[in-house]
């Protein structure tokens, strides 16, 4: 199995799907001549030409809306937005059109499109480029939401997203683009709605969202070496559809749950997941579900403040220990 960077795995998925289906094309700001703000689309303009790799003006709402219109009439657009914060400019087209059109027109059309965007803190980009907003898109029926953390998942899920007939919000992470990982030799797409168990354990279930799946793994190692606690780490990989069954199965085994996300606490992914877990596995819980989230503030620029504002392994270790404190 070859190893490659997360960004290369995404680029490979785009290339493979563009070769497989001529209706797949890319639109986005600076994806062509500039080669992509994060170099995911490097080389694709040269390979596929301007018809299929389209540099757009800075008009997020309209390029997403054009993607929706093209998807309704038979194409498979992949729209790149430079950060998840910029996607807020396109929220009208994403929510009122992409997510709703099939339903509000009685199932007459489908909207097979992918909207890619990176999120996450750690690069000192301040409050307009650093947020983690997967909870906003998770909120909306009609959208699928993917949050890949490894190179293999990035490639497999992006291929699946492009082939799927629904609008997909594909959330990458700025800090993961340079991470290396093994990808499969074959180019099979991965199924949505199948969580990955990153580490098996019997004592506590830790669910990590997006990059936080890696932070959770790191915390699990520390829990094992320092505290003799054997944590099970789950990466849901997609939030819609959600593999709730795998999470519940784990919680029923460990009787404890910690949810880790980089986004804000109110109305977050963890809040939602904690509600679902207590509704369906209440009798199995030996402790309240713990949440570890980003700070409830706009992301600050100053390096120490920024680092303090999103979860690290230490936060996760403390949250996991808290689920044992009354035992």
């Amino acid at each position: 199995m070859p190893a490659m960077r997360y960004r290369e795995a995404l680029g490979l998925a785009l290339r493979e799907e563009m070769h497989a289906d001529e209706n797949v094309f890319l639109m986005g700001e600076d994806i062509g001549v500039f080669q992509g703000a994060f170099k995911v689309t490097q080389g694709l303009l040269e390979e596929f030409g301007e018809k299929r790799v389209r540099d757009t003006p800075i008009s997020e709402n309209t390029i997403v809306g054009m993607g929706v219109g093209a998807a309704m009439t038979g194409l498979r657009p992949v729209v790149e937005l430079m950060t998840i914060n910029f996607s807020l400019l396109a929220l009208d087209q994403i929510v009122n059109c992409a997510a709703s059109i099939r339903y509000m027109f009685g199932g007459q059309v489908k909207v097979p499109m992918v909207i890619r965007m990176p999120q996450g803190a750690g690069h000192q980009l301040g409050p307009t480029h650093s947020h983690s907003l997967e909870a906003i898109y998770l909120h909306v029926p009609g959208l699928l939401v993917a949050v890949p953390t490894t190179a293999a998942d990035a490639r497999g899920l992006l291929k699946a997203a492009i082939r799927d007939d629904n609008p997909v919000i594909f959330i990458e992470h700025e800090s993961l683009y340079g991470q290396r990982g093994e990808v499969a030799d074959n180019g099979e797409p991965m199924r949505f709605g199948e969580a990955a168990v990153r580490r098996e354990g019997d004592d506590v279930t830790i669910v990590g969202i997006s990059r936080m799946a890696l932070t959770a793994e790191k915390a699990a190692e520390e829990l094992a070496t320092e505290h003799e606690i054997d944590a099970e780490v789950i990466d849901p990989r997609t939030l819609r559809p959600l593999d709730l069954d795998t999470i519940l199965e784990s919680v029923r085994k460990t009787n404890r749950a910690v949810i880790v996300e980089e986004g804000w606490p109110h109305g977050g992914v963890g809040a939602n997941l904690a509600a679902l877990i207590q509704e369906q596995a209440f009798d199995y819980l030996d402790a309240p579900v713990e949440r570890v989230t980003g700070a409830d503030v706009p992301m600050p620029y100053s390096k120490p403040l920024e680092q303090a504002a999103f979860p690290h392994a230490e936060h996760v270790v403390q949250a996991a220990l808290a689920t044992f404190k009354d035992v």
Binding site: F25, K51, R54, T56, P57, S59, N61, T62, I63, V64, G65, M66, G67, V68, G69, A70, A71, M72, T73, G74, L75, P77, D92, Q93, N96, C97, I101, R102, Y103, M104, F105, G106, G107, Q108, V109, K110, P112, P141, G142, L144, A160, D164, D165, N166, R191, F192, G193, E194, T238, R240, P241, L242, D243, L244, D245, L276, E279, Q280
Partner: protein
Amino acid sequence: MEVEKKRRVAEAEGDGKGDPQRAVERTPPEDLGTEHPLPDADRCRAILEKMMLIRRFEERAGEMYAKAKIGGFLHLCIGEEATVVGSIDAMRESDYLLSTYREHGQALARGTDANAVMAELFGREDGCSRGRGGSMHLFDLERRFLGGYGIVGGNLPLAAGVALACDYKGTDDAVVCMFGDGASNQGTFGETMNLVALWKLPVVFLVVNNQFGMGTALERHSAVTDLSQKSAGFGVPGPRCNGMDVLDVHAAVREALRIAREDRQPRLVEAVTYRYRGHSMADPEEYRTKEEVEEWRRRDPILNFRKRLADEGIVSEEDADALDEHAIKAVDEAVEFADASPFPDLAALYDDIYVFGEQVRGWHTVDERSPDVHPGEQEREAPEVSRELAEAGAAYANVGDAQERRRRHREGGKPDEEPGEGESAGEQREDEGGDD
């Protein structure tokens, strides 16, 4: 100080912009457009018939709204028939049409069955959007009518995307996208104009300038009131036409479509028209005078076209009366059809949110309406209590078999004391609070 002085001078000499109390005269554009020769007799008859159908349909829809058969908002296009029919008549069958939420006329002009349109307004399963969209969200894929949209300016990017698909696939199909004068102030207007000009897409934008963005008059919402100029700076020029003259609209849109299709240059056509009725049915119309409406009614697109056809011996007054009777009958039938069509099945609540292919695993949607939490996609197999609660909720609609639903929900409790259905034929709608 100098700036302050200039401001005061501008106010003193001002044209009343920004002053809602000052009545602005909005007279019909006498000098706008040119007189065109009539097309052949069959075409003339078809155009008149279509405009009459739309007029009669809208009148009946208004009545059905007053009787609470139709919910939500209802935006009627009475007065705009020439703009609607003239432009759509210039399209090919293979062209695509997108519109705003004032689009009953557009659907009818495109050929969607009046029965299906009325059933949609009634929220029924046989509606053209299966009752999921309502008045503002009609859709007819077969006729390439790709929807009415409820967000002002929201349909422009979609139309550009459809035009992109036409271009991408190498067809010579084109797109017509209609919106009101109010939409020209949205960000999507400039963004879309720039993109379609940049990418040379085959699309014609038709501004239905009916003088008001809801209740705000054109000169109070747009600094530039010649809307055909507003897109020119972005690279999308185009003419103004007389929106009360079906042939003038037709000629302008036909030529714009030719340029878009053959020369790959997008165009914008402004049709200057007027809606006789309020923005929606919940509109007290305090922003204009009765005299103004009367002045426009004298330019009525149907009466004037009809008169010309009689004068030139194409369609006699008697024949025109027969066409009108025919339209009334078709609308009567549409009301009957809509009333007989069932409401959508409650178990279908979660249908068509997602396309299920390979990826059926997992929770796509979550039903949290009852203690029996389940994936929404399993609603049809939901536990009994979930179904009972769905029926209890639906009973608040006070329509259809509401009484039966309530009885079933109570299971052996006292049946409803109110006789009959919640909504008798004589029931009138209560005043609605606001509007969009």
